[in-house]
Amino acid sequence: MDVPELRDEFDASIANGLAFLRRRLTGDYEVDDFGFDADLTEHVFHPVLRQLYRHWFRTTVDGSKNIPAEGSALIVANHSGTVALDALMLCLAVHDETEPHRFLRLLAADFVFRLPMVSELARKSGATLACNPDVDRLLHDGHLVGVFPEGYKGVGKHYSQKYKLQRFGRAGFVSVALRNRKPIIPAAIVGAEEIYPLLGNIKPLARLIGAPYFPVTPTFPWLGPLGLVPLPSKWLIRFGDPIDTTPWADQADDPAVVFNLADQVRETIQGMLGEMLKERPDPFED
């Protein structure tokens, strides 16, 4: 039996694969100043992550109309899940829901750039160090920047604290948005809390490997590598209305204004999380 369309499709994917291989082996691709490799991200990272995104986590997205089609903005989201898979899924949501597709440039902790492999993958997928010069440059160049103000406090919190936003620290992201006159888009991610429920933290081991924490989950480290398989929770990602920061643009150094706005963003995200959890009472529903 011969199915011509199927064979054409197969043929096309082989041809694309060869073209990709050709670019990679000859070094004929572009990398930006931050090390972002769009070719590799679109053709290798995204297809792999998309399997998780679609089939494992069954992710649904709403509010994507709030992501601007062009120009820069700061997307601020809650952080959870022991390892930062939520950040990668957020990137994919932004990419797949925008037309033309846009890349979310993540800001990561210095710990990420300390590690071999991880640092390489981070830079190639568009992440850079969370520091003022880099954010200013990304926003100036018209990029969408992804921030998780909770940092380790969010991603490494105990399972009992799930969906409770942690402190926003210095709220540096607000100052950055004000200084650059860019909107803040609050985003809420439901589902990441359940993938690796964090029950404990082996501090001496964390210190030994220089990590912020060493996670203990119901499956890790007990099941070894199997414990690295995330639990198949149902994910929802929502983008809220953009917050215009231009009215306070001259007050980027006023802590009162900064904390006030940070609280507003925090409450918006917490509110969205509450609504979304009502829509998804069972974390492992279909």
Binding site: R7, D11, I14, A15, L18, L21, R22, R24, L25, T26, G27, D28, Y29, V31, D32, D33, F34, G35, D37, D110, F113, R114, L115, P116, M117, V118, S119, E120, R123, K124, T128, L129, C131, P133, D134, R137
Partner: protein, 342 residues
């Protein structure tokens, strides 16, 4: 557009080496410049003899400089290029390198301070001045300061050299001091240690790191140097080709084979020579600089990093194994087989 008149007497240090010889010859060809005096501790190699025919050569060891030469010459501009980026085992190794870089610069700057006639001082520096740290921003502007004292010898020398220039600026505010922080050089004629590394068949890299690199084309570096001498450009400038290439990209474009090595092993290899700590740090962290200030102030944009490196590759085809053209023809073959079957 010349912002100020050209100096009549120019002194170039490090004239026996590529960059010094080239710039001395270029400036000597400028009709507004009356005399160009080239200083170096050794005589220039024979191949530069023709190039340097209009340059007065003087043998002078900067590390034992008396200080009166510049005054006697009534020097109006000094171009300090006697800065070595890597130790040469045949010429005293790292100790001699540090002696020349640090002590040599110190003596030269002291002499410059006493030279009343001086109008301009141009100093070769390097983007190594930014050091290497995990907490560094992705792109360095001239204002970025090194987070830690770098462990690489060259980077430490560069910080010392720039320190002396800072002191000089304070004491002689009447002199225009230009510090040029060059990215690694590339081009057909450049013979740096880093480029020799890329000319090997197999290029050791750090496992799990694909650093962002920048190069500046030697001809563009010379143009920026020339303009710094004949025009007035006070300040510190990054001089690099816009854009980046990663180490893996550079190796693939050059048709070389990369050999990823664990970082501690490559570090251990620094003891045996062939690779320096400066280079290991570069291969771990990479280094990218912002050239906005250079482009704005000099009205000159160097060719891109990719173009500069391409120019180097063209003249170094002999060691290449997996050249882009061989990869192309191999893939073409697969493509043809596949088509044939379909």
């Amino acid at each position: 557009m010349e912002k100020s008149d050209a100096p009549r007497v120019v002194v170039v240090t490090g004239v026996s080496r590529f960059l010094g010889a080239q710039i001395a010859a270029q400036i000597a060809a400028d009709p507004r410049v009356e005399r160009v005096i080239g200083l170096d501790r050794t005589d220039p190699p024979g191949e530069y003899q023709d190039l340097l025919r209009n340059v007065e050569l003087r043998k002078s060891d900067l590390t034992r400089h008396s200080g009166s030469t510049l005054t006697k010459l009534r020097a109006e501009a000094v171009v300090h290029l006697a800065v070595v980026s890597s130790p040469d085992a045949t010429k005293g190794g790292r100790a001699a390198m540090k002696e020349q870089n640090v002590i040599g610069t110190m003596h030269l700057i002291a002499a410059c301070q006493q030279t009343e006639s001086l109008k301009r001082l141009v100093v070769r520096s390097s983007t190594a001045a930014y050091g290497a740290s995990f907490r560094d921003p992705a792109v360095f502007t001239e204002e970025t300061e090194a987070r830690d004292v770098p462990r690489g010898g060259y980077a430490r020398d560069i910080l010392d050299i720039e320190g002396y220039v800072r002191g000089f600026r304070r004491r002689r505010p009447d002199v225009t001091a230009t510090v040029l922080r060059f990215a690694p050089f590339a081009g057909p004629a450049a013979e740096t240690v880093l480029l020799k590394y890329f000319a090997q068949r197999v290029v050791p890299t750090v496992l799990g790191r694909d650093p962002r690199l920048q190069f500046v084309h030697v001809d563009d570096a010379l143009e920026v140097l020339r303009r710094s001498v004949v025009e007035d450009h006070p300040g510190t400038f990054n001089v690099a080709g816009p854009g980046v290439i990663t180490l893996a990209q550079a190796i693939r474009r050059a048709g070389r084979i990369s050999l990823p090595v664990l970082e501690p092993l490559l570090q251990a290899a620094t003891q045996m020579g062939g690779v320096s700590l400066d280079q290991v740090d570069l291969f771990v962290h990479g280094r990218v600089v912002d050239t906005t200030r250079l482009v704005r102030e000099f009205g000159f944009t160097p060719r891109s990093t990719a173009q500069a490196f391409e120019d180097f590759i063209k003249s170094h085809q002999e060691g290449a194994l997996v050249t882009p053209s061989r990869v192309e023809s191999f893939l073409d073959m697969i493509e043809a087989v596949r088509r044939g079957r379909a």
